[in-house]
C-alpha cells in the first residue's frame, strides 16, 4: 500500500477563500481519473471553503502583490489561485 497525491486547483473570485470558484483544474496522481481542458462545465465546489470542508488540504495560495506603477490596469493571469491536495492509498 502506498500513497499518491490528488491536486485540485481552484481560482476564486477574490482573495477570500470563501469566495466563488471561477475556474478549476484537477490532476490525479493515483491515475483513477483523467482530466483535460474543457472537460467539465460545473465547478466541483462553489467556493474554496467548500473544498476544505470536503477534506481537501490547502497547501498554496497566491500572494497579493502591489500593482506596478503605470501598469495598474493591465490584466493577465487569473489572480486568486489556491492549490489543494488529498493523499489517497493505492494498491501496488
Amino acid at each position: 500500500m502506498s500513497q499518491r497525491q490528488q491536486v485540485l486547483i481552484l481560482y476564486l473570485e477574490s482573495s477570500a477563500l470563501d469566495s466563488r470558484v471561477i475556474a478549476w483544474a484537477s490532476y490525479d496522481g493515483s491515475g483513477r481519473q483523467e482530466h483535460m481542458a474543457g472537460d467539465e462545465s460545473e465547478a466541483p465546489y462553489r467556493t474554496g471553503l467548500n473544498a476544505l470542508r470536503d477534506g481537501w488540504r490547502l497547501f498554496q495560495a497566491s500572494q497579493l502583490l502591489p500593482h506596478a506603477g503605470g501598469d495598474e490596469f493591465r490584466t493577465d493571469y487569473l489572480k486568486y489561485e489556491f492549490f489543494f491536495e488529498k493523499l489517497v492509498n493505492i494498491d501496488e
Binding site: 470558484v21 471561477i22 478549476w24 483544474a25 481542458a37 467539465e40 490584466t75 493571469y77
Partner: protein, 308 residues
C-alpha cells in the same frame, strides 16, 4: 462598389467587450462542398489512418502556400472556395469592419481533428492558450475559424473563453486552467464562422465521435488604424453617460454601455472592473474618440486635478 454587409455598432461593441462574433450557416452548402473538394477530403470510410489522410491533404490540397503579409485580396485564386467565402457579403463586411478591406494575411492553417478510430490512442483536448506570443498592442488581428461541416458536441469543436482578449499572457502559460466559467464549445451547422480577436484564449476539443472535424483558420492583420470601419450611421459620437449603480430600474441589455460592460462569469470581483476599463480603451481606439467612456470607468480615474 462593395457589397460587404458592414457590422452594426452593437456588433462592434459586442466584439470590443467579448472578443468574438459567430456567423452560423453563413457559407452556402455548395461552397462548403467546394472547399472540401479543394482540400482533398474523401469519404470518412476511405480514410485508413490520420497519417495517411494528412499526407493526402498535404500533397493534393489546393490551399495555396502564401507568404506572411500578403494582401488578402491577392491570397487566394478567384475561383477557389476560400476566395468566394471571403467575398460573401456577411464575411467581407465583418473583415472590413474589424481589420479593413486592405488587411493582410498573417497565416492560415487547416486543422484536422481525427476521431479515436483513426488514432492509436485517443487524443486529449488541446490545452488552453493564446495564439502567437505576448502581444500588448491596442490594435488587433482577427482569426477566422471556418467549419465546413456540422460540428456536434462530441466532435470537440473549438473551446474559447469570451472576454479574455484583454489579458496579456504568454501563449501556453494559461494551459493550467482546465475549465473556466463561461467557456464555450463550438457546436454549429455546416458553413459557420467564428471570428475572434487574436487574444481570445482557446483550444481544440477532444473528438469523441466517429467523424473527422475540419477547421480552417485564417489570421488577418490590419494595415490602417481600425477606426470607424464599421457602419457608423447609428453611432452616437460621444456616447452619453448614463446613471450608474443607483439606476432606478434595470438597464436595458441593448444599451451600448450594457453591451460594453458585459460581465463574464469568470470575471474576478476586482479585475472584472479592469476589464471594463480595457474595453473602454479599446472602444476609444475603435471610435477614434479619446474622450468617450463606458459607464464612467475611465473618466473617474483620469480626473486628475493636482496637476501631476
Amino acid at each position: 462598389m462593395s457589397n460587404a454587409e458592414l457590422l452594426t455598432t452593437a456588433q462592434m461593441a459586442h466584439f470590443a467587450a467579448r472578443g468574438f462574433l459567430k456567423l452560423d450557416s453563413c457559407v452556402p452548402d455548395a461552397l462548403n462542398r467546394q472547399f472540401l473538394d479543394d482540400i482533398g477530403h474523401v469519404a470518412d470510410d476511405e480514410i485508413g489512418s490520420a497519417l495517411e489522410h494528412y499526407g493526402r491533404i498535404m500533397s493534393r490540397s489546393a490551399i495555396p502556400v502564401v507568404g506572411a503579409g500578403t494582401p488578402l485580396a491577392e491570397a487566394y485564386p478567384h475561383d477557389s472556395a476560400l476566395a468566394k467565402i471571403l467575398a460573401l457579403p456577411a464575411v467581407a463586411g465583418a473583415i472590413e469592419s474589424l481589420v479593413g478591406a486592405d488587411c493582410v494575411l498573417d497565416h492560415h492553417f487547416l486543422h484536422v481533428t481525427f476521431p479515436p478510430r483513426l488514432l492509436e490512442k485517443p487524443a486529449p483536448a488541446q490545452h488552453t492558450h493564446q495564439d502567437s506570443t505576448i502581444d500588448p498592442r491596442r490594435s488587433f488581428d482577427i482569426q477566422i475559424m471556418y467549419f465546413p461541416q456540422a460540428v456536434t458536441a462530441d466532435m470537440g469543436g473549438t473551446r474559447f473563453i469570451p472576454g479574455t482578449h484583454h489579458r496579456i499572457v504568454s501563449e501556453a502559460a494559461v494551459a493550467r486552467y482546465q475549465n473556466i466559467k463561461g467557456q464555450q464549445h463550438v457546436v454549429c451547422p455546416p458553413g459557420s464562422l467564428l471570428i475572434m480577436h487574436h487574444g481570445i484564449w482557446h483550444g481544440g476539443g477532444a473528438n469523441r465521435s466517429d467523424n473527422l472535424r475540419y477547421m480552417f483558420k485564417i489570421r488577418l492583420a490590419p494595415t490602417r488604424p481600425q477606426v470607424r470601419l464599421w457602419n457608423v450611421s447609428d453611432l452616437d459620437t460621444r456616447t452619453p453617460q448614463r446613471p450608474i449603480f443607483w439606476v432606478g430600474q434595470r438597464p436595458a441589455e441593448d444599451d451600448l454601455h450594457s453591451i460594453l460592460t458585459f460581465r463574464e462569469d469568470w470575471h474576478e470581483a476586482d479585475t472584472g472592473r479592469l476589464e471594463h476599463l480595457n474595453t473602454a480603451r479599446l472602444w476609444r481606439y475603435l471610435t477614434g474618440d479619446d474622450k468617450t467612456d463606458v459607464d464612467y470607468w475611465l473618466t473617474r480615474v483620469e480626473n486628475e486635478q493636482a496637476g501631476a
